[in-house]
Symmetry: C2
Subunit: 176 residues, 2 copies
Amino acid sequence: MNIQYIILGFLMDKSMTGYDIRQKFALSFSFFSGISFGSIYPALKSMEKEGLITTRLEIQREAPNKKICTITEKGKEAFLNHLRAPLPVDRYKNSFLMRMFFFGHLSPEEHLDFIHKYLDKLNETLANLVKFQEPIEKHADPYQLLCFESGKQQIKDLIKNMQQTAESLKKLETKK
Amino acid sequence: MNIQYIILGFLMDKSMTGYDIRQKFALSFSFFSGISFGSIYPALKSMEKEGLITTRLEIQREAPNKKICTITEKGKEAFLNHLRAPLPVDRYKNSFLMRMFFFGHLSPEEHLDFIHKYLDKLNETLANLVKFQEPIEKHADPYQLLCFESGKQQIKDLIKNMQQTAESLKKLETKK
DNA sequence: CCGGGCATGTAATCTGTTACATGATTGA
DNA sequence: TCAATCATGTAACAGATTACATGCCCGG
């Protein structure tokens, strides 16, 4: 699911500017993927060229002008087609595990330092997610809420997993 | 951790050809990331140019010639430096959750179909992992084994999570 | 005789990032 | 006065993918 279809998905509900889209992205998709203006604006440009969206300029006196993007019938069709396409195979990238694969080259102190820092990061991610609990419960649709709950569970499971891994690491090091 | 450092990590243990590297990658890193010849060979080329590896041609009569890559002192240093660098922030990409975010546009039948197919894929991934249990227990170092166990646990947790999500979805649909 | 494994490599393309450029308003 | 927010956009680069090109050996 590349950013084009996510943008189309957002535009299904209401027309937005590139700026709005980035905000929406940060609020509801930052768990899955990052996105920056450098990819949003070129994407919007090519989508307009392909007739998936239309744009309308709104002149503002006290702020920069806005370019409001609206999805077309062709865009809706493209979005729904994509939504029904088979899911790709996911890779479960985990930067800590990839490091641990090579832990044979580092010292026990470094090992524990790494996993503790990773656990800190995970706890931070969870704390950030929890902050969104209220606004999501109020504004998201049931599927989006379910998405959020499942994502939260994933982080919780990963934290538990990493705590167990930390224990195993400690045992490994003292045994030697 | 881009592919360059993973390759250097492999070469820390023994010299290898690009072909060997792809095999090793498929066996021990396919869980985290994919890789193809189209990225391995150019990477090796640029690594040689930077002096991180040296190559030696081995002529074979009955098979294509091999280009054996060996890590240099400079390469070892670069690898160890990278290994100690701070971990990046992970995104927990999950193609099913990203789809579910837009389930408001699909029918209940389609919802259940998607999650069942995703669960099938996860079970397949787990079954594939389990196949590697024996060879890994025999040949991997303790950290790599821990890596494997943690990855397996991640899939198991995700399966449970998705089963619960499937239940929640069913309840949602019947309530209406 | 055909597919798969062995073995290396290039070219075109995709998808996205970072850094830069512009410029006004608002609040601490 | 300085940073942040609003708002759009370009240019250079990074990192990887897919498809293509080559060619031999082996087993069913």
